[in-house]
Amino acid sequence: MTVLAALIRRDIRIAVRVGGGALIGVLFFLTVVVLMPFAVGPDLALLTRLGPAILWLGALLASLLTLDRLFTADHEDGSLDLIVMSRTPLELACATKALAHWIAAGLPLIGATPVLGLLLNLDTRSTAAVALTLLAGTPALTFTGMIGAALAVTLHRGGLLLAVLVLPLSIPVLIFGVAASQAAIAGQSFGAPFSILCAVSLVSFVIGPFAAAACLRHGLD
């Protein structure tokens, strides 16, 4: 347990320091959301209707942008090899790294949601609904994205290939995340899509670490 706690502390500390890039994600999120009114026009009623979708899309793209950092830096300085060779099960180490990544890069996105909700003319209730669905859904984005990050680091190819591999896997999260927030805003049944969203997250907690660990184990040399 102390090993994993140390790993979490180390990853978060690296992420928030200079060159860590955790806050780049929030900045990107902000930029994407600010771009939307320029694209669809400053029509407040339309922005209110599109708001949850815009916030979800921004969060998805922002978490995709930071995924590259999950394994790359550790691979470059050799600490990933130490993690692979250590006595801690690689699956647990992967899950821990993903958790640390989510705390450093995912939680700030949720923190930024209320501010961005103001820009999109969302009321308190809608903003709370979106923030709640993001809280339940962004871990799934990180944990499924981790598979793509592990593939990219073993293949020495990041960037576009990572996006092409990860985006299809994140479509279900997007569908149910937006569906749940729209349902909460429209006053329809919030429980069904939200439970499915939570289920998708739970499934990704199981699949993600095992698949990523399999990638690292077979792929690194």
Binding site: I147, T154, L165, A214, C215
Partner: protein, 262 residues
């Protein structure tokens, strides 16, 4: 003859060279019978002649999922048993599966236009098949992005197994979500609800498409094995050439520049 005997690529090549003409002939015959029966099948009392799109659309859709299933088995073969032909099969199957999925989407759109009044609807089954198509393309992109085949094989195998989660979602999407696409009418508990006049041509067409898949897969695997042999021959030649140049310049009688490490 077991699976492990096929691990020798030369054996596989000689076996498939004998089997392939027969398979191709069988595919052509069954496809001809299926097309004739589909053309001779009666029109539907509601849908008219457009029901005949079914005989192309449904086998393509089945095959699109079957191919991913075959690729998942091949992925297990790569990761668990390290079977040398498993990654060849997985690599060769991906473009074929993408083609089947694309045809299923296109024929479905053409069928949807007269029946539903729209080419595309964001219904659960259509969306999940579209995701399957995107994953095929991602997998092909992964194969094309990496030069070393064995490294790409293991990465692709993990991705294939993760993507296999989509298969039950596609199969049961029409039961879980009550949307536009009709529920299963052939492979369901309690027997098919389709009339015999439609069922028999459909099954013949499904058999024809499966044979087509096996034929194409074996042919593509042969090509892939030959391509890898060619690649290793080229690399051996390049190595021989570079060492020749190297020793030549050491003796001092060749004015060529030095390549590689001295």
């Amino acid at each position: 003859m077991t699976l492990i005997d096929l691990a020798n690529p030369s054996k596989f090549l000689s076996l498939t060279a004998r089997v392939l003409p027969w398979l191709a002939a069988a595919t052509a015959i069954v496809l001809a019978i299926g097309l004739y029966q589909s053309a001779a099948a009666p029109d539907d009392y509601q849908q008219g002649a457009t029901v005949k799109i079914m005989f192309i659309h449904v086998p393509n859709a089945w095959l699109s999922m079957l191919v991913w299933g075959v690729m998942s088995l091949a992925a297990l073969g790569t990761l668990v048993w390290r079977h040398p032909l498993a990654d060849v099969a997985a690599k060769a199957a991906a473009p074929i599966g993408a083609a089947f999925t694309f045809l299923a989407l296109v024929t479905g759109a053409l069928w949807g236009r007269p029946m539903w009044g729209t080419y595309w609807e964001w219904d659960a089954r259509l969306t999940s098949v579209l995701i399957l198509f995107l994953m095929y393309l991602g997998l092909i992109a992964l194969w094309r992005a990496v030069e070393d085949p064995s490294r790409a094989a293991r990465a692709g195998a993990v991705l294939t197994l993760v993507g296999a989660i989509n298969l039950p979602i596609i199969k049961f999407s029409v039961d879980w979500w009550n949307t536009l696409h009709q529920p299963a009418s052939v492979m369901r508990l309690g027997g098919p609800t389709l009339d015999r006049a439609f069922l028999v041509p459909l099954l013949v067409m499904a058999a024809a498409f499966s044979l087509l898949f096996v034929t194409l897969l074996l042919a593509a695997m042969r090509n892939e094995i030959l391509r890898r042999r060619l690649r290793s021959l080229q690399m051996m030649q390049a190595r021989a050439f570079s060492s020749e140049v190297d020793t030549g310049s050491h003796e001092g009688n060749a004015p060529k520049p030095k390549f590689g490490a001295a």
